[in-house]
């Protein structure tokens, strides 16, 4: 297994370089270093000398990808791409273009993201599994059909609708929790309730339908028929056999998204005023802060790869038949 893991980590390197290169090209196709400087320096009374000075101060005064004037390897190393990318692989994110330490900001902002994402995942998992089991229990009845229609409808509704609807009903109309905001410590609870409820309800449609499919697949297996033939109660069959076997794809799916929980939710954080990594990324894009955009894309890629590796590992843990080689 160790060899497998090391190989996977090596595979990750070209992927990360590729992602970094694509991010770099996409960003600089839209924004030149001059644009970035002007964005930082403001709209009014900015001279070209000030722009040049800013670029030199922030290391954007070199060619983007290839330095024809530099000898030897310098043609590739004395470029913005190399200078700005190489430290990422040591997880040194450096400073944002406005001068803030990105690593510190990420360490501060991942907790609010996690404070929403983790409860949404756990509560959502519990509700979705329970609901899917209930549908399976009443399969091929009006409850099943009605639920599927409801779930498809819930899937079809935009996430934004849940957010605005939740804020309107629970925050504005019923006055039960603050509409938006964030705080630290126990005070954070009242701010988290609404985004968590919205996140859970917004995920019921797709989550329950997916789990229903997993359960349906299991319920038609021979071992379930055998269990029924042995006279086991439906409840016992569902919880002891079907649920346990269907948990394999569910758990591996959950493990895959675990690392990405840190990255936050873009729209949710923005609407609820939660200072997480999702809003951090959106702000950076709006401000054309390439240093942050690059760091967040890189971090997202690393976490995604980590999630996939964890998924593979979790297969071996929940299914002894699987061996990694």
């Amino acid at each position: 297994m160790s060899a497998y893991l090391i190989r996977r980590l090596f595979y990750a390197l070209p992927i990360l370089i590729g992602v970094n290169l694509i991010t770099f090209v996409l960003f600089f196709v839209l924004n030149s270093p001059d644009d970035m400087a002007r964005m930082q320096l403001g709209d009014k009374r900015v001279t070209q000398a000030a722009v040049d000075s800013w670029k030199a101060e922030h290391g954007y005064d070199q060619p983007l990808l290839f330095n024809a004037d530099a000898p030897g390897l310098g043609a590739f190393t004395e470029t913005i791409f190399f200078q700005k990318s190489v430290k990422l692989f040591a997880f040194d994110f450096g400073s944002s273009d406005s001068g803030r330490d990105i690593g510190y900001d990420i360490s501060q902002r991942m907790w609010p993201s996690l404070a929403i994402a983790l409860p949404v995942l756990l509560v959502g998992l519990a509700i979705n599994i329970s609901y899917a089991l209930m549908i399976i229990f009443f399969r091929a009845t009006y409850i099943d059909w009605g639920s599927v229609v409801l779930l498809v409808a819930m899937m079809s509704i935009s996430g934004l609708f849940y957010i605005i609807g939740g804020q309107f009903l629970i925050g504005k109309l019923f006055h039960l929790v603050p509409i938006s905001g964030y705080d630290t410590g126990p005070q954070a609870t009242k701010f988290l309730i609404l985004p968590v409820i919205v996140g859970v309800i917004g995920g019921i449609g797709s989550g329950t339908r997916l789990y229903r499919t997993f359960f349906l697949e299991e319920i038609n297996r021979d071992y379930v028929r055998t269990a029924h033939a042995k006279g086991l109660r439906e409840r016992v069959v569902l919880f002891r056999h079907v649920l346990r076997n269907a948990l394999i794809p569910i758990l591996t799916g959950v493990v895959a998204v675990l690392p990405l929980l840190f990255m936050g939710a873009l729209i949710t954080e923005s609407f609820f005023g939660v200072p997480g990594l999702g809003s951090y990324t959106i702000d950076a894009i709006n401000r054309q802060d390439f240093a942050i955009v690059r760091a967040m894309v890189f971090l997202g890629s690393v976490l995604y790869i980590l999630g996939l590796i964890l998924t593979d590992l979790s297969y071996t843990l929940v299914d002894p038949r699987v061996r990694l080689s």
């Binding site: 070209q48 009903l169 925050g171 309730i193 409820i197 409840r235 609407f271 005023g273």
Partner: protein, 712 residues
């Protein structure tokens, strides 16, 4: 669901209102609650240049002058200075000249005397140890690296403000590594500024690992700004630049203690985000006690504030509006101001309605809910707003939105009669009155010239209309008809908007920077305006970066842009059309307009004091612009803002940024109304639980029945 219910119950353990985002124990305090949508990029006065940054730093830093809060037109009054300085004019030999000298002025000297006894806010930069040395000026990189916030340096100190601090800041404006946006402008005016900038670049030690070591600017001599004595400093301006006095009311010229730079520029401090851009240090009424722009920024009363009193004079009507009720009272009138991050308009608006923000702007989405216009076109509040006791404050901004024609363009630009008539025809056809009503909810006034109301040189009434575009009818300006525009077009040689050479409709390219869904309606509207003349408008939608690039290169044809005044002087608007200031040459004249007479008049006008002579020149300049039409004067935006009944002393002052100190609050009224407006509604929780039970019971019964039947 169980978790939800438990969490809700936990929330309910506190006193109502449950949806209060603030600690309930602070309900009775004089704390102003506001919001910010985007974190300020810079809090260092050498770099800050936008309103969302000034909202904070103008309460902390104190330049020598400020604008009178109530008087109009805007008037400068001393802040830390003893008086508003008058320039002393000198010839090339250094001999004094009379104040009205028109020529031979080589130097204008501004001697600023500041009041003794003003002290800085408590700050670690001033903390001293027992031996009298600075407590935190010799931190090791390891010590600095362990710091997370400024509060990790617990000891603070203060000291008296001196003239040296102002001179230090002026030198900072020239420091090339600080990238001050006005460095280029000041290099044109302050004596030796460009040379100082060059010398600083040579003398200062280079940055190491992205951090620039402390470089004591006091050691660098500078003729442009000198300390005269402990409380006086002198600024020397090349030639005349009367507008310099207005810059002395902006945070760029606020004092900076060298100790602050000595503290923040130690190795490791920047990596811990401890910089002047993050932790300001000033003498103003407030200090930034919490700076977490990811969530909240808090300004608290500066215990060392030198004291100031609420103005006792205002304009007619101010007393009746209650704006002089607090005359002579000690400032500031609130203890703290808490600004929360609010990125989206809907939650922001709803929280204002719930009483959790004391004042609010009005977004387009909420406009109809808040404002209605009467038959006479006067804006007023809707019934729902009046019931809540919300008050509306409106003001015409000292800004202009205009449609510019690139005067370098072979079709639209140039000094030919053909092009002039074409521009005039378009100026008539593009109906900005309609634009204001459709896209700005009526929040704007059609512009008749470059100078907005409230700035010297603006004329109201019939004398102020643009006769090339409007007629005066029934006591108001009425836009000339499309037929008149078509006639002008025909006179220019474009009958029915057709190019005489090709016989095809004239095609004009419009540079647009709002390519999003919201912009589409605007662009369609713009096409229709040109179509009135038979002209085909081709929209070249792009992002703001590309738009700016086209403007800099002078490759655009028609565009819309705006300008917000730096100071209340007509020079700050006319310079946007001054020939040597063309955008292609690096200036702000985006139309690249050049007219010899206009330029000559501008050079005269900018040096004159407000008065009949200056007004006469401005009238002539405005006439030239109306005739040449390098701009279709669009509109002066009008700002609408709302505030709750418990917030007092609200008068729009579009020039002053340090207005927080004048605000007064009635926290007991706010607490009472918040409670009345936000009673928790509990029945939905009961209904949800009941629904679950009602759904679960039959399901359980059916399940049991099925299990029993299958067992049989």
């Amino acid at each position: 669901m169980a978790v939800w219910c438990v969490a809700l119950l936990l929330t309910g353990c506190g006193e109502p209102p449950w949806n209060n985002p603030y600690p309930p124990e602070r309900a009775g305090e004089t704390v102003l609650y506001g919001s910010f949508g985007e974190r300020p990029k810079h809090l260092d006065p050498v770099r800050s240049y936008s309103s969302n940054e000034y909202a904070f730093i103008a309460q902390i830093y104190e330049p020598p002058l400020q604008y009178h809060y109530l008087k109009r037109p805007y008037a400068l009054v001393p802040l830390t200075a003893e008086s508003v300085p008058e320039p002393r004019l000198l010839d090339a030999a250094g001999n004094p000249l009379p104040a009205d000298a028109a020529a031979d002025v080589a130097i204008s000297e501004y001697l600023v005397r500041i009041r003794p006894g003003i002290r800085y806010q408590p700050h670690p930069a001033f903390a001293r140890d027992d031996a009298g040395g600075y407590r935190y000026h010799a931190l090791t990189p390891e010590q600095a690296g362990r710091l997370n916030t400024l509060a990790d340096l617990p000891e603070t100190g203060s000291r008296e403000l001196t003239a040296e601090d102002y001179v230090y800041q002026i030198k900072r404006l020239a420091a090339p590594w600080l990238h001050s946006p006005i460095a280029g402008l000041m290099a044109e005016h302050i004596l030796g500024f460009a040379d100082l900038s060059r010398r600083l670049g040579e003398l200062a030690p280079p940055a190491q690992d992205g951090e620039r070591p402390f470089f004591d600017l006091r050691k660098v001599p500078f003729d442009g700004a000198e300390v005269v004595d402990r409380y006086s400093f002198r600024v020397r301006i090349q030639g005349r630049y009367p507008q310099f006095i207005y810059w002395l009311a902006m945070p760029f010229f606020a004092p900076m203690p060298w100790e602050a730079e000595a503290l923040y520029q130690q190795p490791g401090m920047k990596q811990s985000n401890l910089t002047l851009d993050w932790y300001p240090v000033g003498t103003g009424p407030f200090m930034l006690t919490e700076n977490n722009p990811n969530r909240r920024m808090v300004l608290s009363r500066n215990p060392d504030f030198h004291g100031e009193r609420y103005p006792s004079e205002g304009m007619p009507g101010d007393a009746e509006a209650g704006l002089l009720d607090d005359a002579g009272k000690e400032l500031p009138m609130i203890d703290r101001a808490v600004y929360s991050l609010e990125k989206e308009g809907i939650p922001y608006w709803n929280k204002f309605l719930q009483g959790y923000y004391d004042s609010s702007g009005i977004s387009s989405d909420a406009f109809d809910q808040a404002v209605q216009f009467d038959a006479a076109g006067q804006a007023g509040l809707t019934e729902a707003m009046r019931e809540k006791g919300i008050e509306l404050v409106t003001a015409v901004d000292t800004s202009i939105m205009y449609m510019g024609f690139n005067m370098r363009d072979p079709l639209l630009g140039g000094d030919s009669e053909r092009a002039r008539l074409l521009r005039q025809a378009i100026s008539i056809a593009v109906d900005f009155g309609e634009y204001i009503s459709i896209f700005a909810n009526g929040r704007g006034v059609e512009a008749q010239g470059p100078v907005p109301p409230g700035i010297f040189g603006h004329r109201e009434g019939e004398a102020g209309i643009n006769p090339a575009v409007f007629r005066w009818q029934h006591g108001r300006p009425v836009r000339r008809s499309v037929d008149e525009a078509r006639a002008l077009l025909a006179e220019a040689g474009y009958h029915d908007g057709r190019d005489p050479e090709t016989g095809r409709p004239l095609t004009i390219y419009y540079e647009a920077m709002d390519a999003g869904p919201d912009g589409k309606a605007r662009l369609n509207w713009m096409r229709k305006q040109f179509a009135k003349l038979g002209i085909e408008l081709v929209v070249r939608a792009t992002d703001y970066n590309r738009f700016q690039e086209k403007m800099r290169k002078g490759t655009g044809q028609v565009f819309m842009w705006g300008w917000n005044a730096d100071y209340p002087d007509p020079e700050n608007f006319f310079f946007l059309l001054y020939g040597p200031n063309a955008k292609v040459d690096g200036g702000e004249n985006a139309a690249n307009y050049r007219n010899t007479e206009f330029d000559s008049l501008f050079e005269q006008m900018k040096n004159l004091p407000d008065g009949p002579a200056r007004q006469q020149i401005i009238d002539r300049m405005t006439t030239i612009l109306r005739q040449d039409a390098p701009w279709a004067f669009g509109y002066y935006p009008k700002s609408f803002s709302l505030h709750h009944r418990w917030l007092d002393n609200v008068k729009p002052n579009l020039m002053a940024n340090n207005t927080l100190k004048y605000r007064a609050l009635q926290p007991e009224v706010r607490a009472r109304l918040r409670e009345a407006w936000n009673p928790p509604v509990l029945w939905p929780i009961g209904a949800a639980v009941l629904l679950l039970v009602l759904g679960a019971v039959p399901a359980m019964l059916i399940a049991r029945r099925r299990e029993r039947s299958s067992a049989r």
